[in-house]
């Protein structure tokens, strides 16, 4: 059994870390404080070929393996969790369905632009009354002579309004429940499409997540992704991969909290010596490091399953469940180690703590991950 990263994976980690420290870390606290989407990072991420890492070069991507992509999300999230999810939602949730289910014409129109980072993507599944129960969505798509008319609303849409391409789920046959759900590719300037006010969130404040509205929004027949009724299947398959990206985001947040804690524990002097010499602190650091290492093994294992063409639904769920809950625990301990300073904006661990919580919720709550895992274990 080989636990070593390949040369390319090691170099990608170093390069993304170097990029993140130069371009992302300096603005991370500011975009969090001001709830500002970091538009200026998008061309830089694209120039680094980070916006479509796991897609082939001819499709506009970098041609990297999935483990490398996950490492990149981890490293970006270590610097800024908002940037990590902007990239992950674009790559795993918006671009992947086009890559996997798109027709040749749809791929010609969207894939290269999305994988190369020229056009940002978003994924619109959640509705005000349909979160974990995604199949209960009430948005509809009605077929007309010249295409479909979409009606309804979606909320918590990562990357809106900056995204140019939206993967939207709506019922073409509401009577059939989840089997009546279909997926559509909607462009930002489609008539009848609009974006609401941004949410004010506890964490990942640099990531924009407003609601989007469809008011007799007209899209051509060619906007249908897959066949009519394939939408729920496409959504679930997409989320299986997306969860690994969120697991990597959680891993990066946890690592950032540990790094800050180790540095602080070595510098902070109490009782005449650095607090790193106190057993109470050492035990917390030891638990944090161990949990992060275990999370990393789960996350990389799930990504490796993708690379090797093996099923990854359960593995991805385990990775997300453990990494996200680890991130919250570790960030909490990081604040404890920092004491009163950790509760202030002077140190990054309070941001880590706020950012970590969402990883237990979006792209499938911890409870959903446990359902997926239990279904597999009890099979």
């Amino acid at each position: 059994m080989d636990f070593e990263l390949t040369d390319e994976q090691q170099l990608i980690r170093e390069a993304v870390r170097e990029f993140a420290e130069a371009e992302v870390t300096p603005i991370a606290a500011e975009i969090d404080r001001d709830h500002r989407f970091p538009c200026e990072l998008l061309p830089k991420l694209a120039e680094m070929n980070l916006m479509g890492m796991p897609y082939p070069e001819k499709a506009g991507g970098a041609g990297a393996d999935y483990v490398s992509y996950i490492i990149a999300v981890e490293e970006l999230s270590r610097a800024c969790a908002s940037t990590g999810v902007i990239l992950s939602a674009h790559t795993s949730l918006a671009t992947w369905p086009v890559f996997k289910f798109g027709t040749e014409a749809q791929q010609d129109r969207y894939l290269h632009d999305m994988a190369s980072g020229r056009r940002l993507g978003a994924f619109a599944l959640t509705e005000p009354a349909a979160g974990t129960d995604a199949g209960a969505g009430t948005a509809t798509a009605t077929l007309h002579a010249d295409g479909y008319a979409l009606n309804g609303s979606k909320m918590f849409i990562t990357n809106a309004p900056f995204a140019e391409v939206y993967i939207v789920f709506a019922k073409t046959d509401p009577e059939r429940g989840t089997r009546g759900m279909s997926a559509f590719i909607v462009e930002k300037d489609a008539p009848g499409f609009s974006v609401g006010e941004a949410e004010h969130k506890l964490g990942i404040r640099g990531s924009s997540t407003p609601p989007v509205y469809f008011s007799d929004c007209r899209v051509p027949r060619e906007a249908l992704l897959g066949g009519e009724g394939d939408g729920f299947k496409i959504a679930m398959a997409t989320l299986d991969g997306g969860r690994i990206g969120i697991a990597a985001q959680a891993l990066g947040i946890a690592q950032a909290a540990l790094d800050a804690s180790v540095a602080y524990a070595k510098e902070r002097v109490q009782f005449g010596k650095p607090i790193a010499t106190l057993q109470a602190i050492q035990w917390m650091i030891a638990d944090m490091a161990t949990e992060i290492d275990a999370a990393r093994l789960l996350v990389y294992r799930a990504a490796s399953c993708v690379d090797n063409g093996r099923p990854y639904s359960t593995e991805g769920a385990m990775a997300k469940l453990f990494a996200s809950e680890t991130a919250t625990r570790v960030a909490g301990k990081a604040i404890q180690i920092h004491g009163g300073y950790g509760y202030t904006e002077s140190y990054p661990v309070e941001r880590n703590y706020r950012d970590a919580k969402i990883t237990e919720i979006y792209e499938g709550t911890s409870e959903v991950q446990r359902m997926v895992i239990a279904r597999s274990a009890l099979r």
Binding site: D7, E8, L11, A15, N49, E57, A62, G63, S68
Partner: protein, 258 residues
């Protein structure tokens, strides 16, 4: 035009520790490109992009300098290919020996119009190799280079001098050491790193290079480390500055410092 970048694959001193006897323990230090060499590669890469020159990386050293990871790390920065001498006998080689080997590699490559190096190596920082290499080749050497333009046989070089900048024109091949801030090293993109493993790597045998025998051999036979004095840990209360200053002066006089 053919440009060579002489780079070093070595350990970062920040990750090394100093043992009680004063010797340095490098065992836990991770190897990588010497800190200023990405600057040299970037300066050369920009010139190569303007002139269409071939960009060749060269390094010589101990076992490990030719490892696939080391080659890909250098090639990912934009080099077209690398030529490497990896030999255990070079582990403790001095600057003049390394420069002599580098000179032979450059002769082996042939038709080289320019050699660019970093400002200094991160581990030794002797700043000697560019000058000694130029001496070996019979070429001019210029340090603190901030800009290189022009083409083969007609290079225009700017270098930093105390209080200003000097402009030079060089009509033949030269060895130029880029200043530490000559260019902002570009972080390699994902495609650069993934393509690096497909670029040519030429490993040369040291014995086959016929490096001239050195007339004088220098060997480190011992070293002394200054005796570490223990601190007195004397604290002075600064509530009254005048009194504290007087107390400090008195303490320094007592210690023989003043």
């Amino acid at each position: 035009m053919r440009i060579v970048v002489a780079y070093k694959w070595t350990c970062d001193p920040e990750e090394a520790t100093v043992r009680a006897d004063g010797t340095v323990d490098w065992s836990r230090a991770k190897p990588g490109l010497s800190a200023y060499d990405p600057v040299a590669i970037e300066v050369a890469r920009q010139l190569a992009a303007e002139t269409g020159a071939e960009l060749i990386g060269v390094t010589v050293g101990d076992k490990g300098v030719g490892a696939p990871l080391a080659c890909k790390a250098a090639l990912g920065r934009g080099l077209d290919r690398v030529v490497i001498v990896e030999d255990g006998s070079l582990a403790d080689a001095g600057r003049s020996e390394l420069a002599a080997v580098l000179a032979e590699v450059i002769r082996h490559i042939g038709d080289v119009d320019l050699v660019v190096t970093g400002d200094s190596s991160v581990d030794v920082a002797a700043k000697m190799v560019p000058t000694v290499l130029a001496g070996e080749l019979g070429w001019p050497a210029v340090a603190e280079v901030t800009s290189i333009t022009g083409q083969a046989g007609a290079l225009r070089v700017e270098r930093a001098i105390p209080g200003g900048v000097q402009l030079l024109e060089i009509s033949g091949p030269a060895v130029l050491a880029a200043s530490a801030d000559a260019a902002a090293p570009r972080v390699p993109g994902m495609k650069d790193l993934l393509a690096a493993g497909k670029k040519p790597v030429e490993l040369l045998e040291l014995a086959a290079l016929k490096v001239p025998q050195r007339n004088a051999v220098m060997t480190v036979t011992g070293q002394a480390v200054p005796e570490r004095k223990s601190r007195k840990g004397q604290l002075i209360d600064t509530a009254d500055p005048a009194k504290a200053a007087a107390e400090l002066v008195s303490a320094l006089r007592q210690a023989g410092t003043l």
